[in-house]
Symmetry: C2
Subunit: 597 residues, 2 copies
């Protein structure tokens, strides 16, 4: 059976020694979470993840959700009790505003907790995860009544949320959507249409489900400018929140799918369901994007989370599985064979995953901290810089962390040989669950286009230039430090590759946008590599300082330094290949006639 241990120590190291969490105690909410409270929260979250969510992960995958003839959906054994413990434990309300019943704690903490929960049970965490996204949209765009009525109960966890975008004929291109909203004359609308791929669309975990639904009001303009966002509760509710009649929305079927079997992925039928406008009419897409951006960072964390849990199991297996002898000579003559961790190729696979996990954790945590600055800082410049950072890094995090996270689950599975493909080690579940993160909340190709087509040129390239300056300055400021040099030289080279690629897009992508599209995915990965390289340099800096200050941590810190060295030596040079690919442009690929594919 698979196991999971939440990496509390690593999270604390990042907060203490790399991100210097204590420097932010002037921000609202941070004062409520001083260092000892942070540690206590992480330890408590670890317990929930390890003891409540992880034990029902594999069983949830095997059992899946079931839909009865009347359209009701039952989640796997244990999910209901786990959801009760999860919401009552305050894990949904943790970062939510105090005025709506939240705890107002930093987003960076919620993000750290979120990684643990997603490692333990991704399918489960999608229920509260979608609720959080829906709350974000309601708090950003709802009326005060809506915030009080829906927001507080969702933050409490009594009601859950969903997002309804996709229809059979459109996902990425929402301008084509057909779901209709007809005004009832009393302020409500009658919603009719079919939505597909609706995660957590119907289930038995909460008293009510609040669907956020994109639809077109009768007579609204065609395309994306005629789309509005509606609140459609499963049960109608009184202004006091009492449950009323069952609304005309139902789960038509559950999708047969590759993974995340514990989450109910529904076809949702709206048959004149009663809905209420959320935000302005015809501005629904913008409102939905509030939810999407939030969700994308959560999905990035899922990529890392599956990589982490798969890694832990693979590392344990590699230490325990006896098979063959070291090629450099027998390592443990007392046993019939050496553990497979003696083999360089096994170590290579493990280190590729480990170096990604620890760098990606720093990258995601850093960005979550920037979200706190954006929402809490009194300094307008700092808020602007944080907003730039988030806009730029959201597609990079979503795309790169989920692509690599998935690849890593495959590598971890490979270490088990045949035992990774069959049986109860559960390694194939990590692969199947991680796979969806590359697709939902905007497929990774869409993330790459968002990065290259929208985020890069935005405000004259201000965000990307700021990042280049930050990394370049960091390299310059530290290159006098002998111990840092092994990390900085490769980082400088990788940054130069990224700058060349950016320049190439500026020179070749404007007149011929296909050149930008052709290199977009390579650019996203190139960007992700540089970001991780930057993180590894800062981790090395933190590890060196920590070791000097606290010799008891020498072993752990040396492991960090070695892992970082592996990253910059073997993984970071991929930037050169990505640059080469980008500079080949679009001509060859666009010249093949469609019928010749």
């Amino acid at each position: 059976m698979p196991t999971y241990k939440a990496p509390v120590d690593d999270m604390l190291f990042l907060l203490d020694d790399v991100l210097h969490y204590e420097r932010y105690d002037n921000l609202p909410g941070f004062a409520d979470a001083p260092r000892d409270v942070v540690e206590a929260i992480l330890n408590e979250a670890a317990k929930v993840a390890e003891e409540i969510l992880q034990p029902i992960n594999l069983s949830g995958d095997r059992e899946g959700c079931t839909r009865a003839a009347d359209g009701t959906v039952t989640t796997p054994k244990g999910f209901k009790e786990a959801y009760k413990a999860y919401s009552e434990g305050g894990w949904i309300s943790l970062p939510m505003p105090v005025e709506y019943g939240g705890q107002g704690l930093p987003a960076v903490l919620a993000h750290a907790v979120g990684e643990y929960m997603a490692s333990a049970n991704q399918a489960f965490t999608m229920y509260p995860g979608l609720t959080s996204g829906a709350v974000a949209a309601i708090l950003a765009h709802g009326s005060e009544d809506q915030k009080q009525l829906y927001g507080t109960r969702m933050i409490e966890g009594r009601w859950t949320g969903t997002m309804n975008l996709t229809e059979p004929h459109c996902g990425t291109d929402l301008g084509m959507l057909k779901t209709k909203a007809v005004p009832n004359g009393d302020g409500s609308y009658s919603i009719t249409g079919q939505k597909i791929f609706i995660s957590a669309g119907e289930h038995d975990l909460s008293e009510n489900i609040i669907h956020l639904v994109l639809a077109r009001i009768e007579g609204a303009p065609a395309g994306v400018k005629g789309i509005s966002l509606f609140i459609v509760p499963k049960f109608e509710v009184s202004t006091k929140g009492a449950l009323g009649a069952r609304n005309a929305v139902s789960c038509g079927s559950l999708e047969h799918k590759m993974g995340i079997h514990g989450n109910a992925t529904c076809v949702m039928n709206y048959d004149g369901a009663k809905g209420w406008l959320l935000g302005e009419a015809n501005r629904g897409l913008a409102a939905m994007f509030t939810m999407m951006n939030e969700a994308r960072l959560g999905v990035a964390a899922q990529g890392l989370a599956q990589s982490e849990v798969a890694y832990q199991n693979a590392a344990d297996y590699a230490r325990e599985r006896l098979q063959g002898r070291s090629i450099s000579g027998v390592k443990d003559a007392s046993r019939p064979a050496d553990p497979i961790i003696v083999h360089p190729d096994v170590r290579r696979m493990l280190l590729e995953i480990k170096a990604f996990n620890e760098g990606a954790r720093a990258f995601a945590l850093w960005t979550a901290l920037e979200a706190d600055i954006l929402h809490r800082s009194p300094d307008a410049d700092a808020r602007q810089a944080a907003e730039d950072h988030l806009g730029l890094m959201t597609p990079v995090l979503k795309g790169a962390l989920t692509d690599w996270g998935f690849d890593n689950t495959v590598k971890a599975q490979q270490i088990f040989g045949g035992h990774g493909y069959v049986g109860d080690y559960g390694m194939d579940q990590f692969v199947r669950d991680a796979r969806i993160a590359m697709i939902y909340e905007g497929a990774n190709g869409i993330q790459a286009l968002d990065l290259v087509g929208r985020k890069l040129p935005k405000d004259g390239g201000r965000a990307v230039m700021a990042f280049f300056t930050k990394v370049g300055d960091y390299v310059k400021a530290n290159e006098g430090d002998e111990a840092m040099r092994p990390y900085l030289a490769p980082l400088g080279k990788a940054l130069a590759d990224l700058q060349k690629a950016t320049m190439w897009f500026m020179q070749n992508g404007m007149a011929k946008p296909d050149n930008a599209g052709a290199g977009s995915t390579d650019y996203l990965h190139l960007f992700g590599l540089v970001a991780l390289g930057f993180m590894w340099a800062r981790i090395a800096e933190g590890a060196l300082a920590r070791k000097a200050r606290d010799p008891s941590q020498t072993g752990r810190m040396d492991a960090k330094l070695t892992t970082g060295k592996f990253f910059v030596e073997r993984m970071l040079p991929e930037t050169g290949l990505r640059l080469t690919r980008i500079m080949t442009g679009a001509d060859t690929m666009m010249s093949l006639p469609a019928e010749m594919f």
Copy 2:
């Protein structure tokens, strides 16, 4: 529902214009398969694949195999009828020796046919595939009686075969195996032990199942030198082949697994089952390797086969799915959106798969032709060269084609967005089925070690030097041809990277074998890239010649030239990154203490 169309035209192009099949008509068996017969066989195989095997692929995945309480196993609906058609159609006997009931046709043809069948239904083809491997071992190591008794009936398809190596505590390291063989005094042995992961171990397709089982004869030396290979039939048989008593071998359970659900992967229990020695006592591993090498080429073909069928479905989807508009301007104003094949990033994914498929097909077919030369040529030098080629290329083909093949199924799935993860397009089955090929018949890490540790240094590096010479000479001989230059310059660069990597191993891997282990997987991929680059140069040469000779083929041949250009521009440069990684050596990865992983 997924579809499949066997690429008969592409196979014929490779045979005619690249491999010049007609030049081999002096080899025995080839005279029985002139060009028109080859085409007829490929077309007939295409029909079987498309009309019999493919329609039961997705349903076989959904239904899976079932084991009754008495240990009998039922295959999915339609498998029994399909197996009857398959064996009666002569698809098992095609390349088998005439004296045992085979048709004696070239291996290259059997390989081409095998790709089609594996594209259509990998789980199904494992039943006859394992039979073919078992036949190879029996014909190579069995007594004349065994060949007549077992071989002929297996070639006919009335009986099927299995290979039983793995035990719960050992797979790669067979020296540790515990299954015991005790002589009964009548020439037979009593076999006792448990084997796991036994594909096609029990089923309802054939009258009898002939298990080839590795076991240790009582008193034999420990380790690999005490292992023997036994024939253990499910039903005992008379010398005339009449079925007798049920032998004491049974399927204890079916493995729960990620994919290939249509194949029965069994835990096999041998409880004093009657077996007969195959080949010499204590030489069982060598005999089993006859089967393994054969099987590895078949597994390489599975990697390509899944990549091909996934590609076909993705290309169709990309031509049909309307979503968004081309970034270079609307392409089809008459429709609500453009087909997604207008997007460069979709083309990139498709072309990465297509360029692999067509190059890999040439590589695999070339190697199958070398197998024919090895087994049929009267020229001892040619046989030696062919044997060198096969020894060297088997791990490269197995490792590279299955790694890339799997990656390609993931890319193809990605093109479908959410529809690739759920529902009846069947894309996730290709991913799940392709995954096993990286693991079985020697996990790909083992292939890499075999390549670097055994095949490279063998006979003073004769095989690898011959390959370098062949590619180098080819580049030199053709570089005067202007039309060939775009392919040859990148190939020359890639070859130089491979030569540098080889040199680096010679200088750094002897004294410190971990350096070879650390770079082994990168080396395997580097080797695979150069082999595909060589294939693409030869494909380009063939396409240019064909176009000149037969202008009606200009469109198809130009598509080849464009696809090859994409390969050498965007994919082949990966050799540089692989070389960089190899040259970092083992020091960093070996220095991390096991407990710090």
